[in-house]
Symmetry: C2
Subunit: 413 residues, 2 copies
């Protein structure tokens, strides 16, 4: 029985018309528009042979009971960033819904393995700066105490906002009980980058999510008068930082798929008539290989010290955040690649730079893989985020094909 991919695309458009304004999608977690999206989705479950409920972290679980308790789980998130796109998160939930529906019909409501669909709560962390809220509660990696006192821009506490939505922050660890019987986890997502478009490919199997080393780096030089200080007498903190801004291209360039980004530079005093006395920058480094990531971090530190010395400055590093790489399940990656090749005639494997709920699920020890569909211009988190409709149709079809392969893989044990 073929899946109705076009119906899934139509559902996405319906959700967009309900939850976007002129500036883009507004389904920010723990806000009325998010609850509206979730209510709309609950409505779509009527008439299906499924049970559904919210877990202790606000994740919605939809279960189609199978002959085996072993469960194939589809997941993604309905929440968006403010002024977001129509596909980020929503595509995965609705494609999962379409596949679950196809399986329910094909097996007359009783497939060989249990099929579950999860709509994770607050993947984006847009309101409180805490991403992967629901999936990290599920994985048991959520540090409640560290997040309890977070506030939004209006001073509302996370604890109070989630309570409004029926979630008690103290109890979210209970979401771990949903891990029982989960045998595999799949997630379809837009790429959010330019790689597939450049390669002319619609789909790819995802190897895992890259680890991240994120640091604040401060170069200390000597503020000086721009008119009276000869070039040779300067301790120019900006010059040292500029060397690092360029060096990171060499550091990343030694490793395929590695990325390094200097996203912020601040100069002090930051006036036209003064040599920069202090320069604060940020560095974000990512790779799927933990050893490569550690090497890049080391190389950046060494380079920064060398550049500081060359410019008669000093440098200090402060870690903002880091996470280890999360490689996905090798057998599921192979099945995903097969599903992509059988659907499109070509296959490609690539790591994910952005984090996803799938990383938390994988860290919880559940075999996981993701499928990417091409993003136009590599843009997401923006109202112009888009994917060619023909590619969305291929994505839903390939995702359905992957589901069948993974059901068989689970049955085989």
């Amino acid at each position: 029985m073929p899946i109705d991919s076009q119906a899934a695309i139509n559902m996405l458009k319906e959700l967009r018309s309900l939850t976007a304004d002129d500036h883009g999608a507004q389904r920010v977690a723990w806000t009325p528009m998010w609850l509206k999206a979730r209510a709309w989705f609950a409505d779509k479950l009527k008439g299906l042979p499924v049970e559904h409920h919210f877990d202790a972290a606000g994740n919605r679980w939809v279960t189609l009971k199978g002959a085996s308790d072993k469960a194939l789980v589809f997941g993604s998130h309905l929440d968006s960033v403010p002024n977001g796109g129509w596909l980020d998160g929503a595509l995965g939930v609705i494609a999962g819904y379409a596949v679950l529906r196809r399986i329910a019909e094909e097996y007359n409501g009783k497939p060989p393995v249990t099929i579950r669909l999860v709509d994770w709560a607050d993947e984006e962390g847009a309101r409180f700066g805490r991403s992967l809220f629901g999936s990290s509660a599920f994985a048991g990696t959520h540090t409640v105490e560290a997040d309890r006192m977070r506030t939004d821009r209006d001073g509302v506490k996370l604890e109070d906002a989630v309570k409004e939505c029926g979630v008690s922050i103290s109890a979210i660890g209970d979401a771990q009980s949903e891990r029982k019987n989960a045998a595999a986890y799949l997630e379809l997502h837009i790429e959010q980058g330019p790689v597939l478009e450049r390669m002319g490919l619609p789909l790819a199997a995802v190897l895992g999510t890259k680890g991240v080393e994120r640091h604040a780096i401060t170069f200390h030089g000597q503020e000086a008068h721009s008119g009276s200080t000869p070039m040779r007498d300067r301790h120019d903190a900006l010059a040292a930082a500029a060397k690092l801004a360029l060096e990171i291209y060499k550091i990343a360039g030694r490793h395929e798929d590695a990325v390094c980004t200097m996203g912020s530079v601040k100069t002090f005093p930051g006036i036209v008539t003064a040599v920069v006395g202090r320069c604060e920058v940020t560095l974000d480094q990512r790779d799927l290989d933990a050893e490569i990531l550690a090497a890049m971090y080391h190389e950046a530190q060494e380079s920064s010290r060398r550049f500081a010395a060359e410019e008669k400055c000093t440098v200090e590093w402060s870690r903002i955040w880091n996470i280890e790489p999360v490689p996905f399940h090798p057998e599921l990656i192979k099945l995903c690649e097969d599903a992509v090749r059988e659907t499109t005639g070509t296959s490609h494997r690539m790591p994910s730079g952005p984090l996803h709920d799938a990383a938390e699920v994988s860290r919880a020890g559940i075999p996981t893989v993701m499928m990417f569909v091409q993003s136009l211009k590599g843009i997401s988190h923006n109202k112009i985020e888009d994917t060619a409709e023909e590619h969305l149709l291929l994505a839903v079809t390939a995702y359905d094909r992957l589901a069948s392969k993974v059901m068989a893989w689970i049955e085989q044990g």
Copy 2:
């Protein structure tokens, strides 16, 4: 008759004790503390055979009438920046006072040429952002209409503040009448840079004030996700700006004494997880040679376009401000160098990066030269601004010697 250099240093210390607090000198023009400094100075004129008055722009003129109407003019300013140093400006006024006093005594109140001392009004422009107020009125280069509506941080208009001090903004052009009979202009100032300290020299003859080209430069790239955008797909506005931040060292390095400064860098969106889509920087270029300055400006523009192209970005330039170089009078430079050599045993010539009232006087066609005395650590506009006392003593002595030479030069016509 030798000059009493120590008396001048003691006067400077007396002024400091009257007009500085724990944060430094507070003689900001058009404020009560500035008026207090000027009143203190007027007190010091009592008993001297001089006439003194304020001109239409608030400059104070002290005149010791000589046998000839041709006048040797000493000038500097008593105003300071907020939290300023004890020497910037004040040294020149008080050294001029000491020399005038020595000449008055030596010639029993009737020197061969007229001696004048001017305390320029508002050299720093600290309160209203308009530097060289009084000297530009004297030179006739002051654009009253452009400055009339300037306000300080409290919203007080420049026009009203100067009126409180007896200056009518509409009439300041009348200060040009003071140019009559001015045959030479001398100004002693601290270097405000590190060159003389590095060279181990106390004093130097100043060649002129450097011209300035000051621009805002914006690199436009493409904001992109730091995790999902491969290095080769980036349009990194920061990378282009970083190349220019380093290239300006090569551009300035091709010309002795030339300086180029990138003092401010702003990144947009300026967050750790995004490739920089837009980078705004400032560039300040200075040299004493107009052709070299024009060449450096051209080279920086060319380089910026090349770097923008290399990083798949675009660049636009917008002039903030510029001023042409003001070379001082060759014969007076020679006399200054002689005075420095005869006093200290060595001589040095150097351009001034910072602007000074002397630049306006020179632009008005009056033969001009400045003398610099070493600054400790090159620091000024700060309470720690300082000069070794032995160097201050040498400076007053050499300045007095220069005055004698220039009096003779004027007499010779």
